[in-house]
Each structure stands twice: as structure tokens, then as C-alpha cells.
């Protein structure tokens, strides 16, 4: 079985004025991997995701996705190429229902001149949208207004919207942030079970090391804009610098938070 490289990031750098947000980032992602990206706040994880998905243009470096150079392409083009993302804070259309959010996501992929006349709520779109919603177990909420949803459902809707295009690579920015502690594992379980039904490769940013250990096949650790470790989970989490700068910091913060 030959393993296909789907994402290849070479010498990526990003500077905001004098602040270096990313320095010499090199990553190769193989199809089917489940990669966790860890790092303390400000380590450059989200900057990395923003660069790969086209929201930020890297200062230098190249990003190749499925064999084509996508460096500097707009998010819409990156999405259509098959790379989508979800957000740390669920990014939804608050005035619409769950179904309408999904239908807008579906329509966005194919919007053109005919779209002035094509009803948003057509049978084909509805079927696709319902399919994705049920994959993530939120189809019972289909007709609910987004403003009435619980945090966990919002997160799942955000991910469902990213999945409707059938991406090859899905980037999840802190899928479990913002939900109650006891909901984290069930949520992640739903997400993983849903994505596994497709061919999508997953990269997810996560702070909870238990979740990382349970779901990831590989971990990439960021520290001050650079990658300090990249490899199998156990190896990376055992790395001295990772323990010192990331795991230790997060545990310290967690201890400080709890009374």
C-alpha cells in the first residue's frame, strides 16, 4: 500500500512586523493520518492553520496540497481544492437555522449565475445536508435556529459545514474548546466517528493531552513559531522540551485554574 502525501509545507515563515509567528515550518502529511497540533497559547498553531487555509499569506515558503501549489490562494479556492477547516469559536450564520447553515455551505461550493434562480432549499442539497448532519448526530436539530443551540451542537455544526464539501484534509481548530469538561470526550468521539466514515485526513489543534493520546496517530508540537517535535504520540509527549514548554505549562495552567 503506497502512502500518498497530501500536504507538503516547505520552509514556511510568517512575520507580523518584528514578531515572528512562524519560522521554518516543514510538515508532510500522509493520507489517513490523524495529527494533533499542540503548543501553548501564542505558539503559532492557529497562524499555521490560517496560512495553510489561505487566510494569511506566508512571508516565505510554499504549501503544496494534493500536488498543487496553494500558497497564497484565497480560502475559497483552498476550500474548493479540498482543504477545509473548523474554528475554535464555532463560526456560524446566527440568523439562519441549522439546515439553512448547511444549505448555504452546500451552495457556496457551486455558486454561479444560475444560483440567482436555484432555490437554496432544493431536494439534492437537502439530502446531502441531512446526510452530513446525521453523520455527526445533529440531524434532530435541523430546523432549530442556530441561536438556540448548545455549545457542543454549535461545534458539531461548524464541523459539519466544513465536511459537506467532502474534503481530503480537515483542519479542526480546538474542536473541544468551549464545551464542558465532561462533554469533551463524547464530542470528540462523535467528530472522529463522523470523519472516519469519509476519506478525510485530520489535523486538529488540541490542548487536552488525554484527547491527543486517545485520538492522534502523530503529534506536532509548536513552540514560539517553530516545530520542536514531530512524530508518534508517545515519543513527542515524552520529549524533554515538549514536557517543559507545552505539557508542563498546560498542566500548570490547569492546576492554577482549578481551586
Amino acid at each position: 500500500m503506497t502512502q500518498k502525501t497530501i500536504l507538503e509545507v516547505r520552509d514556511l515563515n510568517k512575520a507580523f512586523g518584528a514578531v515572528v509567528a512562524a519560522a521554518d515550518i516543514n510538515i508532510e502529511v500522509t493520507e489517513g493520518e490523524i495529527i494533533a497540533i499542540i503548543g501553548a497559547n501564542g505558539a503559532g498553531k492557529t497562524t499555521f492553520v490560517n496560512m495553510v487555509t489561505g487566510y494569511l499569506t506566508p512571508t516565505t515558503g510554499t504549501i503544496r496540497f494534493l500536488g498543487q501549489d496553494i500558497t497564497g490562494r484565497a480560502p475559497a479556492a483552498v476550500c474548493k481544492a479540498g482543504l477545509t477547516r473548523s474554528f475554535q469559536v464555532a463560526q456560524l450564520f446566527p440568523g439562519l437555522t441549522v439546515m439553512e447553515n448547511m444549505l448555504v455551505a452546500f451552495a457556496s461550493l457551486r455558486i454561479g449565475t444560475a444560483s440567482f434562480f436555484t432555490p437554496l432549499n432544493n431536494a439534492a442539497a437537502r439530502k446531502t445536508a441531512l446526510g452530513v448532519l446525521s453523520t455527526f448526530g445533529i440531524d434532530p436539530h435541523a430546523d432549530a435556529p442556530v441561536s438556540a443551540l448548545a455549545q457542543g451542537v454549535r461545534k458539531l455544526l461548524d464541523i459539519s459545514m466544513a465536511m459537506i464539501s467532502g474534503p481530503s484534509l480537515l483542519m479542526l481548530d480546538e474542536p473541544t474548546s468551549g464545551v464542558a469538561v465532561d462533554e469533551k470526550f463524547p464530542l470528540m468521539e462523535t467528530v472522529m466517528a463522523g470523519v472516519r466514515q469519509t476519506d478525510a485526513t485530520i489535523m486538529f489543534i488540541e490542548h487536552d493531552m488525554e484527547i491527543v493520546t486517545r485520538y492522534a496517530s502523530r503529534v506536532i508540537a509548536f513552540y514560539e513559531g517553530t516545530i520542536i517535535a514531530d512524530g508518534p504520540v508517545a515519543q513527542v509527549l515524552d520529549d524533554e522540551r515538549v514536557r517543559k514548554y507545552i505539557v508542563g505549562q498546560i498542566q500548570a495552567a490547569a492546576t492554577a485554574d482549578s481551586p
Binding site: A76, Q91, I111, F117, L120
Partner: protein, 323 residues
Amino acid sequence: MRQIDYSFIAIVLAALLLALGAVVFPLWLLSTIVNIIAKALVVIGVILLMRGGLVSFGQGLYYCIGGYVVGLGGQLLGITDIVLLLVFAAIIGIVSGAVIGLLMSRFREIFFAMFSLAIAMILYGMLSQSQALGSTDGFNVARVTALGIELTAGQASLLIYLVACALAAILSILTHIYYKSEVGFACLAAGENEVRLQYLGATPNRIFYGTYIIAATLAALGGALTAINYGHVGPNMTYWTQSGEFIFIALLGGSGSVMAAFVGSTLFEFVRTYALEFAPDAWQLILGTVLVLIIFFLPDGLWSLIQPARSSARIKRRGKAPS
């Protein structure tokens, strides 16, 4: 599982009933109703843009362009056929909207509002300086004909009224299709969360561009209808107070439905007529009070009495949720 959309039937029925009114309505009322329809067409365009979070303070630009196309079409080209004039105005509306929209679709929020205002005022400046077009007084528009037949004043009024009813019905149906369309929803979504829409594969600028052209065309048709109805055009059509009036009516009616624009426009005309009659010196005071009361008690416009607004309008009014 297909649901029947009763809106189409409602629109056609309303237009037919209105057209039947020609039998009993006096001439002055026919002219007033045409005026209401003309304004409502412009307002529909304003509402379409508002759904996407864009407030046009310069929709008078296309209103004026439509009016002058009718005026000049009669004077320079000798076109007086009512249908030809309207088609002509629509085409010029599309073309000018397509050109100016290239620029406008890149702007958002206050920048869009002020830029639209500025462009409209440039046209005002140009028209009011041009002696050949009657400068600030404008000029008279020749009486319309139908299929080459000359009409009396009374016949012309009746024809204009019936054409206005038909135009209102056709454009309402088209707008309703747009409301329910992929672009219509995408425009609404772009107004709520533009970045997310980009991440889903859409290009908001293009969605706004298309919507902007539709709004321009509607405004040009409204202006053309006004010019035909009044028999006069002037640069005041693109003055900022005129554009403000369209926003005023949009807020009165609300954005819940295509019909809301007509309700708003009717109330506006009604209040203005009676306010002028009862208090000629203070009619603007009355108009202002009405708007304050509407915003306070019916923040989603008069239409919310008929159909409660969805949460989108409410969210927009109170500002976006923190992210």
C-alpha cells in the same frame, strides 16, 4: 415533500386586485399609487443590500439615472413607448450598476454607505451644472405612447397605472425567487459572517456584486416609472435626501418580505400627504416622529405585524454576537 409557495399567488392576486381598482379610483389616486409602487421598487433594492449588511445611502443615483433615461430617451431619441422606455431604463440600470458595482462590491459598512452617497452626489453636481439638461430645475418628459398610439392625458394615466401594477408583480416575483435562491441566502450569510462564507468556498464580493446590480436595476426602473408618472425629472432624484427617504421607507416596511417594501412605501406616502395637509410647516417633524415610533415599537418594520421577523434582523440590530 415540496411545499407550495403561496407568495407567488398572493403577489399575482394583489396586483390583479390593484389593477381592477383602476375602474373605481380617481385619477389622482392612480398617480399616487404609481408613485408608491415606483418608490417601493427602489426600496426593494435597498432592502436586498441591507440583508447583506450593506446600507446604500446613494440609491438615488440609479433612481435618477432611470428617470433621466426616460427623459432623454424621449427628447433625444424620440422613444415614447412606455414599455420600450422601461426596458431601456432597465438596461442602462444594469450597465451602470455593473460598472459602478465593480468598485462598490469591495466596500463594506460605513465605507459602502459613504461611497454610495458620494457617487450619487457627484451625479447631482454634474446634472445641476448642466444647462442643457435644465440644471437644478430638470426638464419635462414627453407623454408616453403605447404601440405607437398617441394617448390623451386620462388614457396615459390609466396605462401608466396598469403597467406599474404589472411591473410591480413581475419584479416582486423575481425578487421573491432571489430571496429564496442560493445567492439570496448567501448574501444574507455574507452579511452575518463573511469570513466563514469564504471558508466555505464562496466569494462574497461576487455575491454582493450580483445583488448590487439587481438593486441598481430596480432603482432605475423605479426612477423611470416616476419620470413617466410625473412627466418631469430633475437632479433632486439623486440628492442625498432622496436616498435617505428610501432607507426611511425600508425601515418602515421591514425586510421580512418583498411585500414589506410596498407596505412601507404606502405608509410613507400616506403620512406625508396627511402631514403636509395638517401641518405644512412641520410635516417632517411628523414623519420623523413616525419613524422613531416604528423603530421603537416595531423594530422589524410594519411587516412584522403580519409575519414575525426571524432572529437575523434582531441580531443585526443589536450588533454581532461576540466571537
